[in-house]
Each structure stands twice: as structure tokens, then as C-alpha cells.
Symmetry: C6
Subunit: 272 residues, 6 copies
């Protein structure tokens, strides 16, 4: 079966644990049925590609609102694929590089991957990789074109490559025809279900069990898991060490971060 099959491929050179550390360290909260479905969908692709006889290139795009957990999901799925070559290409690595420099860094990772029998590449935050800004709009066409080509360039027959992209701008990747250049598009939603939120709050172990219901009451209708984790953390830092988060602090921090009432969210004139 699949798992034993993978054990034959020893993680060798190419897994970039240092780079990954920052994306993996906070861990995934398995917050329920919805998350399990998502997790299974995403992790299945590595297995399918591994088993496949003819297909040797598969590309999956994780798209969803800001802070919904796309990068963490992609990094974990890549890391747990068991593939010998796993790399993340993220905008953070691009600071200080010129446009052609960045295009060739991206191409370099793919070139390395083509030499490994099985590889996963995470293209994190694609709109940022291509310098997208909605005014104009402006973006780096050279980097966009490089990615468009690499999304379709098939490795030699005996090599396999899985590409996992992440974006919170499916809306702009579509007219660029990048959305459809991916074989599969998976939606990663914000938390919008009370049960899911409850599971997250419980999992953090930062609330008194008796406070959970009150905390859920002040929660906005939808919130990204990244934002929620930050708000809980901020609330915790307001509480005396050792004690749990008070619902009052939690509500205050939701407000400070502009997510108390989503209809007012981040409208600065409301912050003061």
C-alpha cells in the first residue's frame, strides 16, 4: 500500500527543514469534521501522484480568504508527503532580490526538483510572489510567466512533481489564467461554524471550559484561524501569568484587531 511504498523512498537531500520550521511550528488544530475533510483532500494528492503510472505532474491550488490557514496547510501537507524533495517558495525569501533574480530563484527550485524522483514544491502566496497590487493593477509579468510555464512543464518520465500553490486572490489569478493552469483548486474557508470555533477555543486550553460559551457569543460570524489565534494570544498576554483568558479581554482584543463586528471590520474611523 501507499505508506509502505513511500518508506522505500528515504527522505534524502532536498527537504528543507529549516525553511519549513517557521511554517510548521504552530501546528494544526484538528478542529472537526470540516477540517478533516480538507486535510484528507489535500494530503491525498501526494499519494495519487505517487501511485500514478502516466501522470507525473500534478498542481493543486489552495485558495481562500486572508488568514484562513492556507500556508500552514500547504506546508504540513508537503512535509507529510514523505517525498524526498520538499521545498517552499515564499515571498519572504525574495526580499532584496531583483525581478530577474527572483524569477531565477523560482526556476532554480524547480530545476532541482526535476532531478529528484519525487518532489513537492509549495508556491506560497502567489499574488505576493508576483508583486501584485490592485492599483493599476501592477504585477511582475516576468515572474507570472515563469510560474505559468513551470506549472505546465512536465519532468522527465521517471520523475514526479507535486506543486501546491496558495493564494487569497483567486479573483485575480483567474483573469491571469493561472487558476485554470492548476489541475485542482481547493477552497480553504475561514471559520464560520460555531462548532468549529468551539473546537479551536477548547484546543488552545487557554479558556476556562465554563467561559467557552460566553467567548463564542462575542465571536464574529466568520474569522480566519490565523486572526483568531492572534486575538487569543493578545488576550492571554493581558491576563496575569498562569491564569486563563478572560472573556472581557478576548472581546477587547477582537475589537482592537477590528474583528468585533465584521461589518465595521478594519474601518479605522471606528477604532478610536
Amino acid at each position: 500500500d501507499f505508506d509502505s511504498a513511500l518508506q522505500e523512498v528515504h527522505p534524502a537531500f532536498g527537504v528543507d527543514q529549516d525553511d519549513f520550521e517557521v511554517f510548521l511550528r504552530d501546528g494544526l488544530i484538528h478542529y472537526g469534521r470540516r477540517f478533516e475533510h480538507l486535510w484528507e483532500t489535500v494530503t491525498t494528492f501526494a499519494k495519487q501522484l505517487h501511485m500514478s503510472q502516466r501522470t507525473n505532474l500534478l498542481s493543486v491550488l489552495l485558495e481562500g480568504p486572508r488568514g484562513s490557514g492556507k500556508t500552514t496547510l500547504a506546508a504540513h501537507a508537503a512535509f507529510e508527503s514523505g517525498y524526498p524533495f520538499v521545498k517552499i517558495i515564499s515571498p519572504e525569501q525574495m526580499v532584496g532580490f531583483s525581478e530577474p533574480g527572483r524569477a531565477s530563484r523560482i526556476a532554480k527550485v524547480f530545476d532541482d526538483a526535476y532531478k529528484s524522483p519525487m518532489s513537492v514544491i509549495v508556491l506560497d502566496n502567489i499574488e505576493r510572489l508576483i508583486d501584485y497590487v490592485d492599483i493599476g493593477p501592477r504585477f511582475s509579468n516576468p515572474i507570472l510567466q515563469t510560474i505559468m510555464i513551470l506549472l505546465k512543464k512536465r519532468p522527465k518520465l521517471e520523475r514526479k512533481l507535486l506543486i501546491i500553490g496558495t493564494t487569497s486572490h483567486a479573483d485575480i489569478l483567474r483573469p491571469m489564467e493561472m487558476l485554470e493552469a492548476f489541475n485542482v483548486v481547493v477552497h480553504v474557508p475561514s471559520l464560520a461554524d460555531l462548532e468549529d470555533m468551539r473546537n479551536v477555543l477548547v484546543d488552545t486550553e487557554l479558556f476556562e471550559p465554563s467561559d467557552i460559551d460566553a467567548a463564542l457569543k462575542v465571536m464574529p460570524p466568520t474569522i480566519g484561524i490565523k486572526q483568531l489565534m492572534l486575538v487569543i494570544e493578545m488576550a492571554q498576554s493581558k491576563s496575569p501569568e498562569g491564569s486563563k483568558v478572560s472573556v472581557g479581554h478576548f472581546q477587547q482584543c477582537l475589537f482592537d484587531c477590528g474583528c468585533f463586528d465584521p461589518s465595521l471590520a478594519k474601518d479605522p474611523s471606528e477604532t478610536f
Copy 2:
């Protein structure tokens, strides 16, 4: 006659089998009457040019929706022309080259072709060769102009050159006046006929004959042959080794790839 005539021209230097391998390896499925007509149309041009007394430059554009099989068709037709010089110019070869570098790579292939008595050049995925993106729109005018000129530049009298272009953007090549710069335009359609689809499914030998009708039932009204081959492959990798593809897996994979119901195709909000 034509075939024996060609045998006199020994395939010499210039056929770039390595480059072609990736485009030829999966083979063509001869899925019926419609395909035969297409295949004959496309392969006739090499013969006509060979026989022609005055004409020594002929350009053919294969245009059609994404994944309809244009590149594979062009590569096979070029390879089977029997011409001594056969080259493919594809975006994949351009990664990492600057704009002028890419223009001169393209010109270099043509320059080499002008030295051979009979040559075929495939210009694959022209919109990508010219860095086209629909926002703006933006594209590389230097590369576009290079191609426009090379499409009309006639070799010396005793040389012959066949150019086969592919594109899924006839709509944008038209205002660029590149569409009409080709002598002939051939449409390569998606699969849209049940008989054609049946032939493809049968040809793969991956379905139980008794499942074919059920599989056709879940098929979308139209699908590119490239997409279809990928979906079948993905479905196969879900099935135990040695066994055939189950219709359930096939339907699931159609859904994952966003082509279960074409009216919903690739709308990410429906994927989850």
C-alpha cells in the same frame, strides 16, 4: 509518389528527438472519424510543401481550447513529416532567459532551419511565448514582432520551411494580426461527441467494458482530451493496483478537477 520521395531525404542532423520525447511519449489516440479528418488535414501540409514548385514557406496555426491536444498534434505531425530538420520552440525552453535572449533563441532556430533543405518548426503555445496576460493586456512586443517577421520571411529558393503554431488564444492573436499572418488556420476542438469519448475510454483499456456506458453518463458535455486523460489517471491511482477504474472514482476525480458540471467548472467556491 510522396512517401517514396521523402525517403530520399534522410533524417539527418536537426531532428531534436530529446526535446520531442516529452511531447510524443503519451501518443495519440485515434478516437474516430473526426480525429482522422483532423490528422489528415494537418499532415497534408508537409506533403504539399514538399511537392510545391514555387511555394517554399507555409505556416499553419492549430488553435483551440485549453487541453484539446494541439501541442501533441503539432509535435506528432512535425515528427512524422520525415523532414530532415524538425524543431519545437516551446515556452518551457525559455525559462530563465531575458526578453532579448528569448527573441534570439527563436531567431536562432529559424536561422538553422534556413540552412536545411526542408524544415519544420513548431511554435508551441504562442501566447505564452510572447508572455501574454489578459490584464492590461501585457505581452512582449519584441518577441511578438520577431515571430511576425519570421512568419513571413522566406528562405532561399532551394529551401523549404513549414511552420506549425499552436495557441488557445486565437481571440488575441487576431487583433495582433498574427492569425492572418498564418497561411492556414486549423481548429482543434475539445471532445464533445459521445462516440469520440467512448473511443477514448475504450482505447485506454482502463475501464471494464461494462462500465463504459456508466462512465459516459457522468462525463461533462465537452472536455479537453488532456484533462480527460489526467482524470482517468487520477481515478486509476485511487483503485487497487491491477484492477480497473471504478466509475465512482472517475466521477469523484472529474469533480475534484472542476469538470463534473461544466457550468460550475473551476469555480473554487464549489470545490469544497
Copy 3:
């Protein structure tokens, strides 16, 4: 508690007192309840981040009209954080540097910060850092992208980084998606309340107490504290040395600076 905790961190290399001098020298006027609330909000973040267990990156944007005191507020809050590494990135430092030079100066400050256990970086006047001008509009996308990435790049686990941005163009940072890239947005308003204005006038000790009411009468409905300080200074320089500011001079200088009647403010045709 927090303060004693910080005392363990000795201000070491990295606090750039020279650079800060210019932003700190005029001091803050504690002009009442509204200011205290603002000051507490802004200074709390450094404490929260210090206490936080998981969060190691926090970004706060101070936005408000021209001259409302954003830079001074940011500089004081940064300086009083007690963090060992405190730097201000301001447009003034960028004069004479090319676009890539400026992007890499910004990146350099962050790189240095990543090496300190606790850092504060002030990104002053962001619209000017990115060369924004409303005609076009034009701005430096490379610098914008650099800032966008650095706003999200998390330091290593054992490091903490607080980013305080200032801008009077929340309206343009929003479509650039930079507004929402900050974790918290704090509005810094102009003076609009008579009590606040009175406190400022009193605090300067430049008016005869008996003149304060008359001075408040000629005040425009709203005025930035920066503008108000300048006007008072100009009025003072008209008065004989040693004597207090006369209300007449004050009114004249308000007029000269285009803020006598805000409905006419800075309309040059009214100045003469």
C-alpha cells in the same frame, strides 16, 4: 510584572538615539482624557508582545490626518517600550538612494531586528516611503512589496518584533491591502475638542491665562497639533521677547498658515 520584566533587558546596541532625537525633542503634550486613551492603547502593544507566548510579530498602524501627531506618538511609544532594538525607518533617510537602494535599506533594518531578542521598528510616513503621488497614481511597487512581505515575515521563535507604521493615507493603503496587513489600526485624530485645545494652549505657557478663551474663539473647528504648535511659535516670534503671545498675532498667523477658516484653508487665492 511587565516593567520589572523589561528591566532585565538592558538597552543595548540597536537603539538609535541620534536618529530618534529629532522625533522626540519637542515632547508630547498630555492634553487630556482623549490623549491618555490613545497613549495607553499605543504603548500597550509592546507590553502584550513582550508577555506573549506564541505571538512574536505584531504590527500596528497609526493613521490620521496630516500633522495630527502620528510620528511623534510612534517615536515616543517605540522609545519607551524599553526594547533593546529600536529603529525608525523614515523617508528622510532615503533621500539620494535609488529605488532598490531604499528597498534594501528597509530590509537591512529588519534583518538587524531579527537578530535582537526584542525589537521595535517604526515605519514612518509609509505613503512617502513608497513614493506615493495621487496623480496616476504612482508609487514604488518594489518598495511596497518589500514592506508588504516584511509586515508578515515572522522572526525566529525566540525573537519578537513590533512594527509601528504611520500614515496619513489610510485611503490608499486600503486598496493596496496594506491596511489589513497590519494586525491593528489605530486612528490618531486632529484636535477637534475645545477642552483638548485649551489644554494644549495652557501647556505651552505662551499665552496669558486671561487670553486663552479669546484664543480659543479664533481657533478653527479642527486643527492638527503640529500645525497648532507652528502657529503658536510664529505668533510668539512676532511678540517682543519675554512677553506672551497676543491673540491678534495668533489669529494673524492662523490666517497666514491658511487655517483661519477651514472652509478656505490653503486656497491660495484667499491668502492675499
Copy 4:
């Protein structure tokens, strides 16, 4: 008279027979009254300039639809002028040159011409020389400006220069003010008259005399002579060697090249 006068000027250095070969080799078909008028108009200018006492610069633009025979006409007229210096500047020579490189190649030819007592320069396909594309539109302003200036730059008194331009985009040269920068504009039309078409078919000697009327029946209302020659050639290559072109093949090839029914011409969806 003129002809004997010219015989005194011996074709010397400067006639670029190699370059011209490709434009001259297929010859002109003298297809009747309309062509004779056109030919006389175009060839008269060289004689006029030769006789002229004061005028030493004359510029003529041949404009007309794609494939109407402009380049061939210009090349023949230039070659038959009998002038000692005859050069063609065509886009084909520009492949691989940078924008300034191309501008200076053009200027170089003119510089050489200024040294000869009598010169003809053909500026072939001006819209391509200036990299024109209708999207934007974009074009090379440096090259455009170079041509605009050279069209008006008069040689020294004792030198004469005839410039013959060709274009199928009179519509875009007009707003560029290049159209009016030429002293004379001559329209080169497509074939639109049955008598002219008959003359062409007869002249090729590739049809059975008895088939001519049938062939004329399947002809589109208008067709460029370049397109017509290609279609006849393609039809011929379908016929057994030695035999004449069948009307059926001719009609098929008209269809393949998208010119069977001009209302459908080159609409790819009709090709299949």
C-alpha cells in the same frame, strides 16, 4: 531622352542584388490595363526625379491590403530605375537587432545613399519596421521618428534620392502623420475584377484553358495576388505531377486558406 540618359549612369556599387533576389524572383504578372497604369505610375517617379532640376528628394508610399503585391512592385520599380544605388530596408533584416540597433541600420542605409549621385531606398512594410501592434497600440517611437526625419532630410544639392515605402496600414500611418510626410501616396488594390483574375490564371499556365471559367466561378469577390498565387500552388501540389490544377483542388485550397467565402474568411470556427 530619359532611358539613354540613364545609361550614362553605370550600375556601380550599391545595388544589392542578393537582397533583392528574394523579392524579384517570382516576377510580376502583367495582368492587364489596371496593372499597366499602376506600373507606369510607380516607375515614372524615378524618371521625374532624374530629370528634375531643383527637387532632389522624392518619396512615394505604396499602400494597400495585405498581399496585394506592394513589396514586389516596389522592389521591381526600384530595381528597374537604373539608379546606381538601390537598397531595400525590410523587417526581415532587423530580426535580432535591438531597437537602437535597428534605427541605426536604417540611418546607415540613408547615409550610404547620400554619397551616391542617384539612389533608391525601399522602406518595406513600414508598420512592421516600427514594431506596430494594434493592442495599445504599441510601436517603436525611436524608429518611427528616425523614419519621419529621414523622409524629409534632403541630400546635398548634387545628389538625388527616391524613397519608396510600402504599408498595409495607411490607417495607422495617417495619425502618425507619416502618410502626409510622403510626397505621393499610391493605392495598390487587391484583385477585384474578373478580367484581371482571368489574366492571372491564364498567365500561370497551370489551368486547362477550358477550366478557367469554372475556376473564376469559385473565386472570392476580392483576393490579394499573393494569396491567389499561394492557393494555386497548393492546388497544384495536390495534382499528379505534370498534370494541370483541377478546379476541385483549387476550390478546396481556397477553403483551407480561409478565402472561399470572404464573409467567413479566417474565422477558425469555420475551418474544421
Copy 5:
């Protein structure tokens, strides 16, 4: 008092008399009450800044129609400030410098000023310094940004800097937010009052006193003082040496310069 205070600051290095000569040589005509008010307004700022205790940066913009005397006013006010460092930055000095070269020339003058205890810098003709042209519009954003920053960069505590800008395009400096970046905006109007015009005519001593009234009759409703001085000069050069200007010549020259009837002013079709 102020004047004796200034005498302590000896004009030292830094006053660029050569550069100023061209702006000072023609002198100011003190043409009446309106001018005195303007002159006093403008010259007061240097005194105020000198007396000021806290303020060490003051910026004043002189804006008004073409030729109203802004540059002359700014140069005289700067020169008469008595400050030890006085420089003019004018477009004329920028000819032949590249865009970054010009930005750094500007920055260099400010850098020098920061080293002097008291400095005045004239930024002459700002729209020209930034290469403004109303088509597009286009301008040099790097130079604009440099100026925007320098307008707000405060010298060290013990230094004082007065910036006097001039522009005839307040309308475009406003959307660039440069207008409001100046602390004070002063309007410099054209001559529009008969009394003012009379004073100017009398002051030149070029008219017979008895002709003044007739000359005023042919005057346009408004005229820049620069234009008026030129017209008088032209009229004078038409008159025999030694004699006064005739009203007829004056009227003719007004007409030649397009300012006879302002409703027709500079409409070329009327000039002939």
C-alpha cells in the same frame, strides 16, 4: 531687535552671489501699496524664523500666474534675509543632468544648508524642477518625492532653514499634496490695477509723463510685470535712441506679444 540681531551673523560662505546676480539685476519696482504688502509678508518669514525658539524649519510657497514676478520676489527676499547661507535651486542649473543627478543636486544644496546655522533655499519654478508637462500628465516622481521629503526634513536643533518655493502651477501642486506640504502659501498676482500699472510705467522713466494716460488706455486688463517690462523694452528699441517710448510702438509691441486684447492673447491665428 531683529535687524541688529542679524548683524551679528556675518554673511559668510554660502551666499551664491554669482548665481543670484541674474535674478537680482533688474531690481524690484515698488509699485505701490499692494506690492508693499506682498513684500512685507514675504520678508517677514526670515525674521520670524530667526526669532523663533522651537521652530527651525519654515516653508513658504509663492504662487501666481506666469510672469507675475515670483522668482524675482523670492530671490530678493532670500538675499535680503541676511542669512549666512542663501542658495537658489533653479531649473536652469539642471540642464544636462540626468534625473537622479538632478535629485542629488537638490539634496546636496539642502545638505550644505543643514551645516549652516541659518539658511535660505529658493526652490524656483517647482513644476519645471519636476519636469512637469500637462499631457499625461508626466513629471519626475523621484524629484517630486525628493522635494516632498526635504520640505519636511527638520535640521538639527541649533540650525534654521527657510525654504521659499515658486510656482505658476498651484493647481497641479495641490493634487501632488505639495501645496499643503508648505507651511504658508502666498499668492503673487499679475498687475490688474490701473494705479499699479501707472506706477510701473512712471518708474521706468521711459514714457513722457504726458503719454502715461494714453499708454494705460491700451493696456490689457491684467498683465504680468515680466511681460510688461519686455513689451516696454521692445517698444523702446523701436524708438530713436535717447527719445522716449511712443504709445503707438507700445501698443504695437503689446499686440506682437499677444497681449493687446487678452481674450485673443497668444492665439496664433490672430497674430498675422
Copy 6:
């Protein structure tokens, strides 16, 4: 008086007779009252500037339709000024120079002029000097700005500079504010009066006196003198040597040059 005054200034270095030859060789036809007025207007400026006591910079723009004789007029006026330094800056000299190269060539001529006591500079065909094209529109802003500045840069006190510009695009120089940057604008019209045309025809001595009336009958309502001279020349070259121009040939050549009926002028579809 003026003329004897000038004789004291010996034509020295700086008059560029070679450059001028091409502009002077055909001469001016003094075709009547209208021309005399124009000629006097234009030649007066040099005299005025020479006599002027304070003014040392004068700029005159000759604007009018294509081919109305602006360049010839400017060149003759400059040459006959008798000034020791006379230069023409024309687009023809700029071929092959880069944008900054051209800007500095222009600046160089002015720099040389500033060294001569009295100078005339002709800025010929300004729209071409700045690379203007109406599509976009596009032009060289660096060259435009250079010219704008040089038009206002005054030489040292003891030097005098007359600038004569020519353009057929007053319409575009106006929004660039270059039109009003000239002190005087003079309109140079096409020939539109029968008497003027008769004078030109007579002056050429190429018509039989008895043919003049007939020739005037076929004349278009307006025609540039440049165009008219070319047409007469072309007609002459059709006539046997020694004999006069026939009205028939004249009419034919008017037609060929697109100016037979101005309502049809240069519409290519009418030429054939």
C-alpha cells in the same frame, strides 16, 4: 542706425554656413504684400534685440501648416541678422543620437551661444525635435523640458540671444505650455490668395505667361509653398527639356500629390 551698428560686429566664428546651405539654397520668393509684411515682422526682432538695453533674450515662434515655408523663413532671417553666432538645431542632426545625447546636443549649442555677444539659434521643427507622435501621445519629456528651460534661461548681462522656433503643431505646443513660453508667436500661412499664387508662378519663370491664368484655375484653394514648388518641379520634369511647363502636366502632378481637390487631398483610396 541699426544696419551700420551691426557692421561693427564682424561675422566671426559661429556662423555655420555649411549647415545653413541646405536651408538657404532655394531662396525666398518675394510673392507680394503679405510676404513682405511677414518678412519684415520676422527680421525686425533681431534688430530690436540688438538695440535693446535691458532685454537680452527674445524668443519667436513661427507656426503654420505643413510646408508653408517656416524653416526657410527662419533660416533666412537668422542668416540675415548679421549676428556673429548663428546656428540651426534641426531634427536631421539628431538621427542616430540617443535621447540624452540629443538633449545635450541642444544644450551644447546654447552653451556656445552664451559665449558670443550676439547669437541666433533656430529650433527647427520642434515637434520632431521632441519625438512627438499623436498616438498616445508620446514625446520625449527630457528633450521637451530641456527646451522649455533653455527658452527662459537668460544669458549673462552683456550677451544677447534670439531664439527662432518653427512648428506645424501649435496645437500640441499649447498644452505643453511651450507656446506661451515664447515671447512672440508669428503665424506663417499657406498660400491662399490668387494674387500670391500668381506671383509665385511668375517668379519661377517656368510657365508661359499666357498659361498662368489657366494654371491658377486648377490650383487648390490653399497650398503650402513647399508643396507648390515640388509640383511645379515634377511637372517641369515631364516636359521636354527647355520648354515651359504645360498646364496639363501641372494639373496631373497636383493630382498625383493629392492636392488637386483639397477635400480629397491625400485620401489614398482616391489616388488610384
